[in-house]
Amino acid sequence: MEYWKDQHEPITAFLKLFEKAKEDPELSEGLKKVNQLIWFDYTEDGSDCSFHVDCRNGQVVAKQGKPSEEPDLIMSLSADDAHRSWSNKLNPVMAITRKKIRVKGSATGLLKLAPKLKKVALIYEQALNELNFLDKILK
């Protein structure tokens, strides 16, 4: 991995991102509209390297690991590409075209989030700052 020293670091950063996103009214609303159980699967970088977000029923809950229920959507990619993606440095359409991101299930909900990626990147930068992951911030 280019950006992470172990498989736990990225999950810490991404869970922090969602914790902060929940506090932002616009992003929190956007996430609720997604209305899906999503598994972000980075297990190519380690068996514990994944987390899931449950945006169903008007809530947003992010936890480490694979969800116990069948997810509506699985996004499989490397933890490095996930970092680029949350930093808005990876064109998701291109990443899917080149199979860097593999999608299984309904991606319709995610389209609702696409317009908010710039804002997500800002909040991700704040999250990295708070975690003192300053060297990981992509400029």
Binding site: N91, V93, M94, T97, L111
Partner: protein
Amino acid sequence: MYGNTGEILLVDLSSETLERKKVPEEYYHNYIGGAGLAARLFWDWGDFKAQPLDPGSLLIFMNGPFAGIRLSGCSRGSVAGRSPLTGHWGDSSCGGHFAPELRFAGFDGIVIRGQSHRPCAIVIEPENLRILPADEWWGLGVFETTSRIRAKFGKRAKSLAIGQAGENLVDYACIVNDNHHAFGRAGYGAVMGSKRLKAIIVKSFEQNYHAADPEGLDQLRRSIDLKIRESVTSQVLHENGTAANLEGGVHTGDVPIKNFRSSFWEEMAEALTGSTLSEKYLKNKAACAFCKIACKRVVEINEGPFAIPKGPGPEYETIAAFGSMLGSMDLAATCKAGRLCNDYGMDTITAGSTIAWAMEAFEKSALTLEDTNGLPLKWGDMKTVVDILLPQIAFRNGKLGGLLSLGSHKASLQINKGSGEYLTTSKGLEAPMHDPRGGGHGLALTYSISHRGACHTANPMLFMEMGACYYPEIGFEYELEPMSEENKAESALLAVQLGAIENSSCYCQFADREITIPEWVDLFNFSAGYNWTIENMMSAGLRVFYLQRLLNFRFGLTADDDSISMRLLEPAVDGAPEGVPVEFDSMKKRFYQLARLDEIKGIPDRATLDSLGMSVEASYVWN
């Protein structure tokens, strides 16, 4: 011959004759089929002096070599000829079910000339080719015509029909298959109307497709179909139709608002996007022949001023053309406007854009109440659009209906008063609902160099700038920044070849993104036996692109016509593209160098034509 049947039906409506005609085999190898082969046949048989609505004009329907293969997206068809809207060479593509049925009936295409002395229909059944009187259908809309055709010929018969707009020679009348699928652009419905040809009906008995390598083709089509079915794009299109990403498009500045004057309107984005259409009005999904994506919508609106019965629903272009473009976020109104256009047989892009142009002209006093017969034209007034303007246009009623039936370009030449500034066209064709300033600066270039005028389906530039294309075998493996000129000319040179291949093989651009370059070559070889390499295939694409330019040159177009309305180039005033200039001139200059186009004539130099085996064609334009 494999894949193709090698035969077209030549119809002369003046003498009421129908004749089977062989097409030289090398034409398929050199010009592929569809739009490319149509251009070639016009080059040989067309009358360059005939105006689009003259009896001597040719109307050419042409299949690609894949029509009839059980593979998603590969059974579209082309129509081509001199366009009544633009006055020069053009073509238009249509999905639906007509093309494979024509192939199964034994023909790759139909070439029609002449003018019938009375309304008529062409009927194609194996061993029973005929021209029938169609007086009883004349005056009917597409829906009623199609239902009468089905009553007479059975539900399995596939038809192309025009509505009142085609009969009344509206310059952007379209041709509609089975109520739902249209040869939308450039006005070929008016050419049918001028020939008094109300419909074409085709019915085959067996679904045969003679592939060069049936086993190879079968394996390949299964694996491509699986990829298409499983792709994210297909799944999104299936769920929410072609407007699935309208909301995202508003945020990137791709969706035009109020005649391309604004690039951002957040409330509208959610109101008009594909998922809202699904939630509010979707009843069923529908598909073109053999397509597993099924991006087409069937909608119903039970109440309100725009209530419509269950039937064909709008695609993205229609939603934007009758929504954001007109300053409206009334989704029901876009459904109703789209339905009316299908029934009258009118292109929704040109209709919406022409009305948007008129609204701006009225706002700025270039059109007055005197011109509109006392009717104020106001942004967002969809009652007026649906109840008054669309019927007036389709029937060319009154001064305003007559003016708007010309399309925005000719209408602006008629009224002048600075109204040319409100145009959003290239070569007389209204731009589709993708704003190059936000959607991608390369689009400004490819709209301007497209043979038919501003068009996003002439080539895959839109998808290339979006990041949805990856073709390392031909050198397209770099990322494009949409709002920049970097690498756009280089990409456009690949795009025009790929676009010619897509439109000549009549493959749907939503479906074929999953097909790799080596798979394209295999598809041609396994189906039609072209025995191509990648280089041969790309050369065929380039040959088609050049031939279309040569046709336009013979119609009087030059390099100066590779231009685009200022409205689409001036820096946007809001949204993501705000203030970003489009470096159009430098992109065009670079493209001209790369494509070896003459700076004055706009056609390739003689040596380039010679290298593609087009020396004879070169002699027509270089002496």
